[in-house]
């Protein structure tokens, strides 16, 4: 991704061409990023930056926080308040930052291993609290940074370095897990459908409460290579394009047709009270008693 060239493609929502200057949001001298050729993380980052821009929030009022893994390198590249924490712990750190500085819009960039395996406990409790933050799960069904081990979203039968004969473990569905745990905004996008992703991320940012966005973003270097996808594009098409259907498309499809497909778009929205609002009410209540 270049910081120099202006992207003149239309924003997802608006019809007219809007010039977009990525260098506003990318820290000088921090590129190139570490992501492999063919990886969709850069595309996701573009969608995120564009979604942030349309949110109208000041860069000073945004915190981007991550754990460990490929997706967790995002904070180092972007010009916000940024924190690169420990494996699985991003949401606990994010909780601390948000509570100490409520004006910050906290965006967590995490992966399937980071959020759902080592950070699984923090993930469900963050969703349960419904503290205002965006949780972006860059879901590539593998541990990319450590060279391709099985993760909680590696589909059964697929190959990894720790599942050499095909994974036998059932998977987590990030969105179902998030909804069941109490997240008040749950959506899914893919790196392939980047404009749709921008829209969904924008909505997630504007949502008050815990917003989880599962982003299907396949890993060509390990997942793709181990599982015989010839090219990164072929992999994206098979997994991200053909493997998903939008909520709208799904309405017209039979359960048989939907079998094995992941739904894209906003899957759940509710307006349960947000954690900080509740905490502030509690503070008011106990202070009035004095």
């Amino acid at each position: 991704m270049s910081t120099q060239t202006e992207d003149t493609r239309p924003l997802a929502k608006k019809k007219k061409k809007v010039p977009f200057n990525y260098s506003t949001f990318i820290r000088g001298g921090k590129l190139p990023h570490i992501w492999c050729p063919g990886c969709g993380h850069g595309i996701v980052l573009k969608s995120l930056l564009r979604a942030i821009q349309t949110s109208g929030l000041s860069q000073d009022d945004i915190a981007v926080i991550s754990g460990i893994g490929c997706s967790s390198r995002t904070p180092g590249y972007v010009d916000f308040n940024t924190l690169h924490t420990l494996h699985g712990r991003a949401l606990a750190y994010a909780t601390g930052v948000k509570l100490a500085k409520p004006k910050l819009k906290v965006i967590v960039t995490t992966g399937d291993g980071d959020a759902l395996a080592i950070g699984g406990n923090h993930f469900i409790h963050a969703c349960r609290r419904n503290l205002d933050m965006v949780i972006m799960v860059y879901n590539n069904s593998i541990y990319g940074m450590t060279s391709g081990q099985s993760s909680p979203t590696t589909p059964q039968g697929m190959i990894s370095t720790t599942g050499r004969y095909g994974s036998i473990e059932p998977t987590f569905d990030t969105c179902k897990l998030a909804q069941a745990a109490g997240a008040t905004f749950v959506a899914r996008g893919t790196a392939y459908h980047f404009q749709e992703l921008e829209k969904v991320l924008h909505e997630a940012i504007m949502h008050k409460g815990t917003a989880v966005v599962d982003i299907i973003d396949a890993c060509p270097t390990y997942y793709g290579r181990f599982n015989k996808y010839k090219t990164a594009t072929e992999m994206m098409e098979k997994i991200e394009k053909e493997g998903t259907v939008s909520v709208k498309q799904a309405e017209k499809m039979s359960p048989q047709e939907l079998e094995g497909k992941l739904l894209r778009g906003v899957l759940h929205k509710s307006d349960r009270p947000e954690y900080l609002d509740e905490y502030n009410k509690l503070v008011e209540r106990v202070q009035a008693k004095k």
């Binding site: 820290r27 921090k30 860069q59 000073d60 009022d61 915190a63 926080i65 904070p75 180092g76 010009d79 916000f80 308040n81 940024t82 924190l83 690169h84 924490t85 420990l86 712990r89 606990a92 750190y93 994010a94 909780t95 601390g96 930052v97 948000k98 509570l99 100490a100 500085k101 004006k103 910050l104 406990n121 923090h122 409790h125 905490y279 509690l282 503070v283 106990v286 202070q287 004095k290």
Partner: protein
Amino acid sequence: MTVHAKKFMQGNEACAEGAFYAGCKFFAGYPITPSTELLEIAAARLPKMGGVFIQMEDEIASISAIIGGSLGGLKSMTATSGPGFSLMQEGLGFACMTEVPCVIVNVMRSGPSTGFPTGPSQSDVMQAKWGTHGDHPAIVLTPASVQELFHETVRAFNLSEQYRTPVILLYDEIIGHMREAITIPAPGEVEVIDRLRPTCSPNEYKPYDTQHGDVAPLAAYGDGYRFHVTGLYHGADGFPTNNTKLIEETGQRLLRKVDNNRDKICKNEELYLDDAEIGIFAYGVSARSAKFAVNELRKKGIKAGLLRPLTIWPFPEKAVEEMAKQVKAIIVPEMNLGQIVYEVERVAQGRCEVKGLFRTDTEPIKPAQIIESITGNGFFTTSKMAEMMVDRDMLDG
């Protein structure tokens, strides 16, 4: 001086009072015996003070949240005990590496594992120094009374803010649960130190810029300084680096900022050390028994003295060295199977005998045991130490 009402207070309560006095506005924790009172007091008090309290899902999340809270600009604290302290080790290392001030209380109970949750112990004293991986600085305070717990909690926050490093308050279940008289000083009476804030413009700000000393000013997230923090080795600007020279320099600086300030960080109480022939090195609850023992021994004409560290890490090397030069033997009573005794031995370098007096049945070491270990009637009758005592006719004293 203002006259303050004396209060009767539990150790953990005094710790909480000390934290609030020092300006603690953020507490995240998880219930665990025998530290739970701190969590409960924070839950009751912080909302009234406009601070933040949150009960997290575990101790890993608790220490993570307080580091986040501190980066958000609030003085932050958590409290736990052995099993929770084990879980906090990765966060502790992160706070050391990223130089984020915070205070971690470990009210020691008996281990390993679940051990004996309701009984006292002093067996985390090495974990407090070495529990997290990698070379890292450690400041660990060991108060021994309710009043002292208040003051040492304030000092823990001060040191943490001053040196941008986590500080551990390490005391045992007895100190945590005992009730004693305490006087809470008026605001302003005890110094409260806040971290240095940047005075430069956001464009010039580097979170690890050490051109004016080993400790750099720390901005808060959201205050206009958009800085980066990572647990990876980093340069002055906070961004990860592969530069081998920078990696070594950063690692050395982390240790140096504590090592070079040992004189300011170390704090000891000394009793009858001027002419002591037998030294006792004791901390926490064991030091209370040791103090009693020393006074009793003096009554018997035995020249015993006590060195009691209030800062156990960095280890009070200078004071122990001085004591080792002077005394014939140092007794180290501790409620574990031998931990700090080896540090004393290391520093004594054979200048005198060093003997541990250990107890792990969850009962405190009694003064009589310490006296007996010196007069030769107790634990160590067959030891060289005791033989030496007998030779010197100390039993007659």
